[in-house]
């Protein structure tokens, strides 16, 4: 009996080795895709990928980026076609960014994100961008000054969003969720190329506005910063405002220290209205042109705060006008808020929200306080 048991045990040992090893790979046999993009959908899908090529000896590893373009009938087949020029197993899980050209975005971005969201190889935390005034291939072939790869460069910019908030970053799952949800339209940040020392450098600035899955227009950097603020995203953005003071009008740079935005539907009247309350804490960063402003003067500060509130009111109204009348794209999600807070009323309007949204009345109320004026509260007075 014992002998038989041992025999069975011995015979089952090879099973362990014969079963193969699940999806065993070797890390050096993989080609890591760091970023990809879709340049064209018709007649063929044109996929541009940025990959990393590792070489050198074990002690001095060298890294080089390779940009490859492949074609296919669908995004997945174009992505699959990559392994033959790459000559190795293409590994998608480290991709950080996915770019879509303006052409594809205007034609319908669904063809791009369907595979990105569905594929188990690509992460749903990939950041998506729309290229403006350039193709995806041009972006990937540009030269970021510090980072080795464009994808890394774009990833770093996204991480710095709080500092430079002139775009609103979205991971692909968030974007897909916005497309999927009722009463909200999607946006994506845009990538542009600028000239820098004779080379093209990609930057992230501005927003592409979508209606359904089709892009309908752009927001510039300032509008995007305000949009990001209205979305309640934490930011430390700087902005300059011509400020009227008792001494005259000077450009003063402010930094946002804290933002609290409250968007609510108001259904008391005959038609629903939206109310936007913006509470901002600001600090004074820089006072331009030798302005002699004393921030210890309460009246002065009060007047500045009122001007700031006025500016934010005006800019918010401008942005809303653009969104409501020009693009008719509810990217702030008024419909979604109405649906959540007042489902009965939403049911009445949901069918023809497209016609209701442009005419929706919005009350904007901004309240700004200056919390901090840097290390100096007195102006620097230049004397001989």
């Amino acid at each position: 009996m014992k002998g038989r048991f041992v025999l069975v045990l011995l015979l089952s040992c090879p099973l362990l080795l014969l079963c193969g090893c699940w999806d065993y790979t070797e890390v050096e046999l993989l080609d890591f895709v760091l970023g990809a993009g879709l340049d064209q959908v018709e007649p063929d899908f044109v996929v541009v990928t940025e990959m990393i090529k590792t070489s050198g000896s074990a002690q001095e590893a060298q890294v080089e980026r390779v940009v490859l373009t492949t074609h296919g009938r669908s995004l997945s087949s174009a992505a699959r076609a990559l392994s033959s020029p790459a000559g190795r197993d293409v590994f998608w899980s480290h991709a950080q960014v996915f770019l879509v050209s303006e052409e594809v975005a205007r034609g319908g971005v669904l063809s791009a994100i369907e595979y990105v969201v569905r594929s188990r190889h690509m992460r749903s935390t990939i950041y998506m961008f729309v290229t403006r005034d350039c193709t995806v291939e041009e972006v990937f072939k540009s030269t970021p000054p510090f980072n080795d790869t464009v994808s890394e460069h774009l990833g770093v910019i996204v991480d710095l969003h709080a500092q430079v908030s002139n775009f609103y970053p979205l991971q692909v799952w968030e974007f897909a969720q916005d497309l999927n949800a009722e009463g909200i339209s999607g946006t994506l940040p845009t990538v542009q190329l600028i000239h820098e020392r004779g080379e093209m450098v990609p930057i992230v600035k501005g927003t592409a506005v979508f209606k359904k899955d089709k892009m309908v227009g752009w927001l510039d950097g300032e509008e995007s910063a305000l949009f990001s603020l209205l979305k309640g995203r934490f930011q430390r953005n700087h902005f300059v405002m011509e400020t009227r003071t008792s001494q005259g009008t000077y450009p003063i740079t402010y930094q946002i220290m804290g933002n609290k935005v409250d968007i609510k539907p108001n259904v008391k009247g005959e038609r629903p209205r939206m109310s936007i309350k913006i509470g901002l804490q600001l600090s004074v960063v820089e006072v331009g042109h030798g302005a002699k402003i004393s921030f210890q003067d309460e009246k002065e500060v009060k007047s500045i705060e009122e001007q700031l509130a006025h500016t934010f009111n005006r800019r918010t109204r401008d942005l809303l006008e653009k969104l409501q009348l020009e693009y008719n794209a509810d990217i702030l999600g008024f419909g979604q808020l109405l649906r959540r807070k007042e489902p009965d009323i939403w049911r009445r309007y949901s069918e023809n929200w497209e016609c209701v949204f442009p005419l929706l009345a919005v009350d904007v109320e901004a309240k700004c306080t200056i919390a901090f004026t840097g290390l100096y509260s007195q102006p620097i007075i230049v004397r001989d």
Binding site: L16, C19, C21, W22, D23, Y24, T25, E26, V27, E28, L30, F32, L34, I52, T54, S55, G56, S57, A58, Q59, A61, Q62, V63, F91, S93, H94, Q96, R123, E152
Partner: protein, 510 residues
């Protein structure tokens, strides 16, 4: 048939106890019991009294203190006036009571007993006309000094370590617990070696059942020789097929004292500087005697470091292998690229690299550990420079692998009681994760935990005090709480007298 008869005849002829004739007795020793044994000395002399009785002192030449025998037996017998008219037993009693100045005296007439005593280092005095021999304790042989134990160094703590001398070892422990409750039971194990074994415990704390169990298990041992306490350990331990140590060993008397004060039982073996302590639980591998001598906050920190090191030494190669072979997506992008670059020209798959480097390290360690110190250093230079650096430049192994092997090895030495077990666990986990990645790793860990949870040491579950979150047992497990909080002895071993700390005067001021 012939042999059988001859053997029987010999037995029939054989003497079992002494006769009255000195010559017969000596002849019997010389011709039969100690035939061909040239270390046995027969010192023949006569007593100083008018009757001038013939005496023979029998002893093993290199096992005794010669001055002692000549001073206290031969000279005493030659000079001491023996009163006349004493016979046999009276004479022997007179000699033991009036003449021999020695603390250890055994009187017996049995040949087998006497011969055992002689080879055990006693001098046996035979007097003509008496059928009893007097065995006098005169053991004296080369002994090692009490030195700091080489296998368990401390920064703070006593520097004494056990030697190979059983009596001295018992004394080293007894000096720390000078209390009548400290009990020692001597036993003899080994049909050939007749090794003395001491079972040491504190009567007022240890459970009697445990003591009886230990004594019973040792009594049942039938083996020809016991050359080290390792024999006893393997012969009496629970779960003998498990690589986990279920009996602890130490070279330090302070550790033995600490353990038996918690209610454990210690076994000391003659000829071995390693004492055994039992029951031995998994937590004890992470407890160091220095924990109790240092302040409790750093002691707790070091204990946590030991737990982390145990995880590192058992798991790092397996996790590394699983990551690079199955889950490259879980490594941060920059790291995975640099790992891929460093493995670019390495010809072997990850599993071969991991196993081979682990083996190389074990070879280096095994090669270095038993060598004399100067040669050992040469080995480590070869290991570090030749195998480490050159192998990486030659692209035989990748640089991250060297780091993995290095951290694994260093962390392994942190928990030295589990070192050998950790090597096996590491290999096991490497195999499981090479087959199934993280999934295999988790399955391997589960298998190990199930095994640990299933074994016991002398009736105490092996994972005791690691599987609970509250109570007195936990105070000395993951953390070492201050002494003024550890007022009770551990419940799982201390059967009686559980109160360890009665009062701590400093507590009011804390």
């Amino acid at each position: 048939m012939f042999f059988w008869r001859r053997a029987k005849q010999k037995k029939a002829r054989g003497l079992t106890s002494l006769t009255n004739s000195l010559d017969t007795n000596i002849h019997w020793f010389k011709q039969d019991i100690f035939a061909n044994d040239e270390t046995i000395i027969y010192r023949r002399f006569r007593t100083g009294d008018p009757q001038s009785r013939a005496c023979v002192l029998v002893f093993a030449e290199h096992m005794v203190k010669h001055e002692f025998l000549s001073e206290h037996i031969v000279r005493a017998m030659m000079q001491g006036p023996l009163p006349g008219g004493l016979h046999k037993d009276e004479l022997i009693t007179y000699v033991t009571e009036h003449i021999i100045h020695s603390n250890g005296v055994t009187v017996t007439g049995s040949f087998s007993k006497l011969s055992e005593l002689i080879v055990g280092g006693r001098g046996v005095l035979l007097v003509d006309g008496c059928d009893l021999g007097i065995a006098v304790d005169a053991q004296g042989w080369a002994k090692r000094q009490v030195t700091e134990p080489p296998s368990e160094n401390v920064v703070r703590g006593p520097r004494q370590g056990f030697t190979e001398d059983l009596g001295g070892n018992v004394a080293l422990v007894q000096r720390r617990i000078t209390n009548p409750a400290f009990k020692t039971k001597f036993m003899t194990v080994g049909t050939q070696s007749n090794t003395k074994v001491a079972v040491v415990y504190v009567d007022s704390v240890a459970s009697q059942a445990l003591v009886d169990e230990v004594i019973d298990r040792i009594e049942k041992i039938e083996i020809d020789a016991v050359l080290d306490s390792g024999y006893i350990q393997e012969l009496i331990q629970d779960s003998p097929y498990s690589p986990m140590p279920t009996i602890g060993h130490t070279e330090r008397p302070d550790i033995v004292a600490g353990k038996i004060l918690e209610g454990r039982v210690a076994v000391l073996v003659d000829g071995s500087p390693f004492a055994l302590t039992m029951p031995y639980l998994f937590v004890e591998a992470f407890q160091s005697n220095e924990d109790y001598y240092n302040h409790w906050v750093p002691a707790t920190f070091h204990r946590i470091v030991r737990y982390i090191s145990f995880f590192i030494t058992t798991s790092t190669p397996a996790l590394y292998l699983a990551l690079i072979s199955y889950h490259p997506q879980l490594i941060p992008t920059n790291l995975v690229i640099s790992i891929a670059a460093s493995r670019q020209n390495v010809p072997f798959p990850g599993i071969v690299e991991v196993v081979a480097m682990g083996l190389v390290f074990e070879i280096l360690r095994e090669g270095g550990v038993r060598l004399p110190r100067p040669v050992g250093q040469a080995i480590s230079i070869v290991g570090a420079i030749v195998l480490g650096d050159a192998a990486v430049s030659a692209s035989l192994v990748s640089a991250p692998m060297i780091i993995v092997v290095g951290i694994t090895a260093v962390a392994g030495f942190v928990i030295s009681p589990l070192y050998n077990t950790a090597v096996l666990m590491r290999l096991f986990l490497v195999l499981t994760s090479s087959i199934l990645g993280f999934y295999g790793f988790v399955l391997g860990v589960m298998a190990i935990v199930i095994h640990l949870a299933s074994i016991k040491s002398f009736g105490v579950p092996y994972l005791t005090s690691m599987t609970e979150f509250l109570g007195q047992n936990v105070k000395d497990a993951m953390v070492r709480v201050p002494w003024w909080r550890m007022n009770l002895r551990p419940k799982y071993v201390a059967a009686q007298d559980r109160k360890r700390l009665q009062s701590a005067p400093g507590r009011k001021n804390r």
